[in-house]
């Protein structure tokens, strides 16, 4: 430690003085506090009370909502958590498999016009609401939908294939809805990788595929990571699509939470379920980040 004996006050380090531009983040900060921190705190508090502590003076602190989830004799809640994660995982993997080649193609496209056209095609579905897109899938996938009636009229099948009201239909619709997020994230990252790196690899004796695997793929992993986390987070919190496409076959945690709030009038248990989903999600995100970081030796997102 350095003792200073001079009487003049030390000037504050420049880094600590807020820039006048810092005020511009105030609206974002306000929004964040109002619509994330506040509701989240309410949810966290509710999850450890027996009732609403504001309106009900008899409400007491309890862990029974968490215990209810943990004990779960009927395995309903565990199954819902498992179904949520499974749907999220499958949706993410398929979005990655569809999105990566598309993003690579877009990022490496020479023609500006072509790039704009493909970008518009990728973004266009986002301009339609999720409900509309989900209904569109219903007309395609249901028992009397386009696919089943066509196949039956060709005599290829005698009774309709179970294309929706199950996990399959849910995943199909979720992939369609969230693939643009994957593509946009990946395109940005792949576009910043110098094409000459792959050319250098090829000139050193790597075939096209080998050059891609050795150079472009590892360098695009931060994009893979960001894109997958985005799609995973969006699909495990999806409510509308699993409700409409899943029928009675699929019960995800967001659906269960909506049930608890809407029909069972148990916001405290809903809060606990929300916290559980969040914690599980965080653990998965951190683990995923760790694994990718170790695999590539690169810095992850965190």
């Amino acid at each position: 430690m350095i003792l200073r004996h001079d009487t003049e006050p030390m000037p504050a380090p420049a880094a600590l003085r807020p820039s006048p531009i810092a005020w511009l983040i105030a609206p974002a900060l306000l929004l964040f506090v109002l619509f994330f921190v506040l509701p989240f705190s309410v949810m966290a508090v509710m999850s450890v009370y027996s009732g609403n502590p504001v309106t009900n003076p008899n409400a007491f602190l309890t862990t029974r909502h968490y215990m209810r989830f943990i004990v779960d004799d009927a395995d309903i809640f565990h199954d819902a958590l498992w179904a949520t994660l499974k749907i999220g995982f499958i949706t993410t993997v398929i979005s990655l498999l569809i999105g990566y080649p598309l993003a690579h193609w877009m990022a490496r496209m020479q023609s500006r016009l072509g790039h704009v056209l493909v970008l518009m095609a990728v973004i266009a579905p986002l301009l339609t609401g999720i409900v509309v897109r989900t209904f569109a899938w219903m007309t395609i996938l249901q028992d009397k939908g386009v696919i089943n009636t066509t196949l039956m009229s060709w005599g290829l099948i005698s009774k309709p294939l179970p294309l929706m009201y199950n996990e399959f239909g849910t995943v199909v619709a979720l992939v369609h809805i969230y693939v643009p997020f994957m593509v946009l994230t990946l395109t940005g990252v792949i576009g910043r990788i110098d094409e000459r790196l792959e050319q250098a690899a090829r000139s050193l004796g790597a075939g096209r595929i080998r050059a891609f695997v050795e150079v472009t793929l590892p360098l695009s992993l931060p994009g893979v990571l960001a894109g997958s986390l985005l799609v995973f987070a969006l699909s495990i919190s999806a409510y509308v699509t699993p409700s409409l496409m899943g029928g009675n076959d699929v019960l995800t945690l967001p659906m269960l939470i909506a049930q608890q709030v809407g029909t069972s009038f148990n916001p405290n248990f809903a809060g606990a379920l929300g916290m559980i989903l969040l914690v599980v999600c965080l653990i998965i995100v951190i683990a995923y980040n760790k694994i990718l970081t170790r695999l590539t030796g690169e810095k992850g997102l965190a």
Partner: protein
């Protein structure tokens, strides 16, 4: 290290069906030669190099290396080293891994890879930096890694696309010497693309000056400098005075003009500007007939440099002028 001759035979390349990048270029590059493709940007020099490397496929014409037609051989089977302007080092790999890459692709056994990487790094004076990532190196060091990475596979041909362009002047000059030295020692055929005429003159055994997709002139640096064949070459290489007074345009280098008393000279004029360029001064002289001349005068002995406003006479020998094709 064995080296190979390269032959481009009437090679043409167009982009998007309309822009002619390379237009019927024929080049004979000898084995072990330091050969430069020199020209302004967009002249087709880089496209020519990329066709030798295999990154571009010629629309017509053939590419031969070592007497073998390799026009249809894919890039990774051509066994050529390439150094890119941006170095194109793999940012996620260490220096040693970068250099080892080509050997790994050739399934060279590990102990041999280690030995050859170490010797390649020693060759470019980078021993001790094996574990660094490219981002932790200076521009000059990255340049050497790129060179080591290309040379460790013992290519028959080394292709360099403006490899020194990103370095500052001093470092560039040092690397010019080192690259030339290395090329001579290894005896590898080196094709060097540059827009810097000084660089090309300093390093090359032979130069092809390119303009608008065509080769304007091929020759040794002295030939290109002393006997430019076209107006473009004369103008592009060094400073030049173009004399348009005869039936054919003629070129006259600034150092071939002598300054003296106006009475004994061919032309009288006045010095407009005098730029000291270190060891010599480059004058811009306005002649009596209003033509401007560039004159380079080296400072011999105690002769004081002339100043702007001085009246001078210009003289030269007719044998020092070069007739140009147009």
């Amino acid at each position: 290290m064995s080296s190979a001759a390269i032959k481009l035979d009437q090679v043409t390349k167009t982009f998007d069906g309309k822009v002619i990048a390379v237009d019927g270029v024929t080049l004979d590059i000898e084995a072990g030669e330091f050969f430069s493709l020199l020209g302004p940007s967009g002249c087709g020099k880089t496209t020519s190099l990329r066709m030798i490397a295999g990154f571009e496929q010629p629309d017509s014409g053939r590419v031969h290396v070592g007497g073998q037609d390799i026009t249809d051989v894919p890039v990774h089977k051509r066994d050529m080293g390439m150094v890119f302007q941006s170095y194109a080092l793999f940012p996620h790999r260490t220096v040693a891994e970068n250099v080892a890459f080509g050997l790994r692709m050739r399934d060279v056994p590990k102990p041999e890879i280690a030995r050859r990487v170490a010797s390649a790094l020693a060759q470019v004076a980078l021993t001790g930096l094996e574990a660094r990532k490219p981002g932790q190196l200076s521009g000059g060091q990255q340049q050497r890694v790129a060179l080591a990475r290309a040379l460790v596979i013992e290519p028959r041909v080394l292709l360099c696309d403006e490899p020194l362009g990103a370095l500052d002047r001093k470092l560039r000059q040092q690397m010019q010497f080192e690259l030339k030295e290395l090329q001579r020692r290894l005896g590898v055929t080196l094709v060097f693309v540059t827009h810097d005429q000084e660089e090309a003159l300093a390093m090359s055994d032979r130069i092809a000056v390119m303009n608008q997709g065509k080769v304007e002139q091929i020759g040794s640096p002295t030939e290109i400098y002393e006997k430019p064949r076209t107006r473009f070459v004369a103008d592009f290489i060094g400073e030049i005075n173009l004399l348009d007074d005869g039936p054919k345009p003629r070129a006259l280098r600034p150092e071939k003009i002598r300054l003296g008393p106006a009475a004994e000279a061919r032309l009288a004029g006045t010095i407009e500007t005098a730029n000291f360029v270190g060891g010599a001064t480059l004058y811009r002289v306005r002649a009596a007939d209003n033509r401007a001349f560039l004159v380079r005068e080296t400072h011999a002995g105690e002769r004081a440099p002339r100043a702007a406003g001085d009246a001078v006479g210009l003289s030269w020998n007719d044998t020092d002028t070069v007739s140009l094709e147009g």
